[in-house]
């Protein structure tokens, strides 16, 4: 048992780090937590191009698609090193982590030639169009309709919670092609050009005040049949491949951790409070539990294994802990804690900001409840919930 890299891993880490040092600044206290905007997008595209040219974009992808042909372990090492730098990666997480792998798995040779390299080089950004107002946790309940018209499909409907739709060039869209079939059977997946007529992205005004996600409306959008991914009616099978990657792509906590609240408590004299100390210990133990579990996963990867549904524990731990830490930090300040001015508040009001972000984190990429279902069913082998929708034609299901 040790935490050391193998010789090959160590060499790769050195190579990765020197590449990063050449191109980026190390992260520091002033690095933005959730950067956005035009400049950021431009910087992100440039960085993606630099990575692709250096052979560090999508390390596990085969060389023929512009990847490195490397191991999962090398990808982990790269991620660890890149996270220490002020690297603008956000806009590509979903496209390269979820959408393009789906194109590689189900697309034609023409698709792969047309899309993969451009995405890898940061020239085109992808988004994932699955969730709908009536299809969140029950994502197979999508109603966006695709109707065949000659060699084309005509799409009408609405998607929601689409990250980055407003700056994306392409998307993969899950549609209903056969409402007479049971829910999971009548779905089909397509590639959609986000700039074409009839596609409209509207930012959602989130409870946190920000506008990172979108509603996307499709009005008589025409897609050639050649842009279908997988067979007609096989959309759910295709979607599962996309979703399998999601919990790996989402992970990580974008907010303050036990170290930051400990520092904050020390500065404000609350570190001597016994009740606080006990909570701090709980946060440390759970956070360590999560990071060390990643080391165990990494060990399994290093030995040639594949990450399984066990990874669902990560977001359950981090999202809840973030909410709890922010709540405690605010209460620690008593009445003063309700203020959120970033210029005057301690820690640039980070705790207050994350307090409003945390509820979203517990929902995005699988709610706590869905993740627990996944653990119960896929890890522990418990029976599925009662499913009244399983064999019923979709258009006969009760709705509300």
């Amino acid at each position: 048992m040790d935490f050391n890299d193998t010789k090959e891993e160590a060499e790769f880490r050195v190579e990765a780090r020197s590449f990063l040092e050449k191109h980026l600044k190390p992260k520091d206290a002033n690095s933005p937590r959730r950067p956005s905007g035009e400049d950021f997008l431009k910087r992100a595209k440039e960085w993606q191009k630099t990575k692709a040219e250096g052979g560090f974009a999508q390390i596990t992808w085969p060389k023929e698609w512009g990847g490195r042909g490397g191991s999962s372990m090398q990808q982990v090492i790269w991620n660890q090193e890149e996270s220490k730098f002020d690297a603008p990666t956000g806009p590509f997480t979903i496209g390269l982590g979820m959408c393009v792998p789906t194109v590689i798995a189900f697309g034609s040779d023409e698709h792969k030639k047309r899309y993969v390299e451009k995405a890898l080089r940061g020239e085109e950004i992808w988004c994932q169009l699955f969730s709908e107002p009536a299809a969140g946790s029950d994502v197979a309940g999508v109603k966006t309709r695709a109707i065949k018209d000659g060699d084309e499909w005509v799409i009408n409907g609405q998607k929601v919670w689409t990250t980055g739709a407003h700056f994306s060039d392409y998307g993969i869209v899950l549609t209903r092609t056969d409402p007479k079939a049971p829910k999971h059977k009548g779905l089909t997946m397509f590639i959609v050009d986000m700039h074409q007529q009839g596609v409209e992205a509207k930012p959602i005004h989130q409870a946190s005040g920000g506008r990172e996600f979108n509603e996307v409306y499709f009005t008589d959008v025409r897609i050639p049949d050649s842009d279908r991914l997988g067979e007609v009616g096989d959309g759910w099978k295709v979607a599962l491949v996309t979703l399998m990657n999601e919990r790996l792509a989402v992970g990580g906590s974008p907010g303050p951790d036990w170290k930051e609240i400990m520092e904050y408590a020390r500065d404000t004299g609350s570190l001597s409070d016994q009740a606080f100390r006990e909570k701090l210990a709980d946060w440390y133990v759970a956070a360590q539990g999560y990071s060390l579990t990643k080391f165990r996963t990494q060990t399994a990867l290093s030995r040639g294994g594949t990450p399984g549904p066990e990874n669902s524990i990560g977001k359950i731990i981090t999202a809840n802990q973030l909410q709890d830490i922010c709540n405690s930090a605010i209460e620690m300040q008593d009445h003063y804690g309700i203020m959120n001015d970033t210029d005057t508040m301690p820690a640039n009001a980070l705790f207050q900001q994350s307090f409003m972000w945390a509820p979203g984190l517990r929902i995005a990429g699988g709610t706590d409840e869905i993740l627990k279902n996944i653990i119960a069913e896929r890890v522990l082998g418990l029976p599925q919930d009662v499913r009244v929708d399983k064999k019923v034609p979709f258009d006969e299901l009760k709705q509300g």
Partner: protein
Amino acid sequence: MNFDFSEDQKFLAGEARKFLNAQCTTAHVREVLNDDDKSHHEGVWNKVVEMGWIGTAIPEEYGGLGLGMLELCVIAEEMGRALAPVPFASTTYFFAEALKAAGSEDQKKDVLEKVVSGEVVGCYAASEGPGNPEPSKLKTTFDGSKLTGTKIPVTDGDIATHAVVLAKEGSGASLVLVDLTGEGVSRKKVSTLEPTRSHAEITFDGAPAQRLGKAGEGEDYHNRVLDHAAVLLAFEQLGGADRCLEMATEFAKDRYAFGRPIGGNQAIKHKLADMYVKNQVARSNCYYGAWALSTDASELPEAAASSRLAASEAYWFASKENIQTHGGMGFTWEVDCHLFYRRAKLLAVQAGSPKVWKEKLVSALERKNAA
């Protein structure tokens, strides 16, 4: 990155599980539970001694197998899972570790070989009453050769042949070694929530004793022994917590109510998923503790504390919710759930309760940040 046990260590764990599945069933545990005169299961204990497990982390020069702490950790997990009703933890994690940490060459030579052979059964006596014993406030005293005072409760205190005792000496504390079969020692069995592990009140009335290590350094040794024991106990807790999750999962799949398995209900599924998350958090922290223990890393204080805290929480949650999942049957004497509930509580308070270890952890983090 190699954050897992080796193939050899996993093989050892597998062999230990096979052995305990055959030789230490809950029927064996119940023999001790149902008989007030039985302090442990002699048959199981003799076989454990024969297997040489006590000597797993004792160097060969003192008669041990000279394997290491990682090997002892995997055995501890299996012992915990099997609820082994034997003085293994007292003898191995506490008594032998205290001798290894503080004993002189002569003391180690003299005693450890007998520990491995089963001739000496050890225990560790620190508690004197309600609350965690503070080395500066001990009432049990050692004058350089004789020990006076009362320790209560002492796990395995009635069957042990020897004890390591935390006592006051001068203005500091010392760890002292006492022959419990000698003069000046009286013992009385005490009743506890966990009858499958015996406990005693031990009164020393000028009992001849010898110090381990230097006078007044007992507090440091004591903390070191506790750090070691914490990791090993955490593995026992982890083994027990995982067994509870298995029991609850099996029951939830097999038990039908309202026309289908109760495990199809989210209230049960989410409860068991919570159990799984806590057990994984505990397992990962335990591995870190094992690593720190086996390499004598400077991170041991926080690693020991976090493994103990994670495992105490996991076992508490798993043992109580295992009963809940079993419903009324889980509250009967005949169903095994309560055996784990009892053991979970003993392991959580033996060597200091979670609040003590939370304070130890935060103090360690403060020292680290100040450095």
